[in-house]
Symmetry: C2
Subunit: 155 residues, 2 copies
């Protein structure tokens, strides 16, 4: 069990997971100040930095950096969205941003297990493929991430 | 031309690019304080948050969140690594983290154009596939990103 913003969670091992199993995270909101601060540090482009200048860009207004959406998705998954023993250790993934995250959006993550592969060489672990859809308050997908995670076995 | 930390850069349009063309970014260093601050906001796990606790994890010591490495890669590309007119607009990508980024690392990005596809429906733009290898001061790859970017045409 672990303490998270959602309360106590049973932590899951590879052996507890099944293909098709789903998870839903808590919610996180994003403000204009959050978007600007992230952009200044990691993605300093007009459509992420300046609400006025952003209007004339293909985003048609201030949009969060896709990497900001990825960071918020990670936090939601770490804070109980994907309650895996050993934490969330990503080996890599495929990310898409079908529409931008905007100031005032409230995001959550819906995840589904796609594949479970016990390691042949390391009996204490395996890899799990999971698709994580990050949705806004209207249910629209702002990010799709297919991630390959290292998950511990119950030994 | 645009002002960047590397000086004035000629901005490139889709028509200026060729498959196989390479780009090298400037360098960015990462401190322990940077790693902890990013982790607190976006990836609060012991191996990113606590140098002592991290020793007992599979990282064997404090490691930056993969999403932090992704953010620094983006900043290096925005600040002249990929000098594209219209900026760096990612539609999505495939990311891998073959080894962790550590406190004290100095990163740079080496990018190569893989594919150039003018849009059939929108004559002012196209998509460019690019592979971006983020390397540390020993030349080791800490991130490989195959990204699909929207790039403007010279119209």
């Amino acid at each position: 069990m672990t303490e998270t913003p959602q309360g106590k969670l049973h932590l899951l091992y590879l052996d507890d997971l099944a293909v098709g199993q789903t998870f839903v995270s808590a919610e996180a909101s994003i403000t204009e100040a959050d978007i600007l601060a992230f952009a200044r540090a990691y993605d300093p482009q007009p459509f992420h930095l300046d609400p006025e200048a952003a209007k004339a860009t293909l985003f048609g207004g201030l949009a969060a950096s896709g990497w900001h959406t990825a960071g918020l998705t990670m936090r939601l998954n770490v804070e109980g969205g994907l309650p895996f023993a050993g934490g969330i250790v990503g080996l890599g993934g495929e990310v898409k941003w079908p529409r931008p995250t905007r100031a005032g959006d409230v995001l959550h993550v819906e995840s589904r297990i796609l594949e479970i592969t016990p390691s042949r060489s390391k009996p204490d672990r395996g890899t799990v493929s999971v698709v994580c859809e990050t949705r806004n308050q209207r249910g629209e997908v702002v990010q799709e991430l297919k991630a390959k995670l290292m998950v511990l076995r119950r030994t």
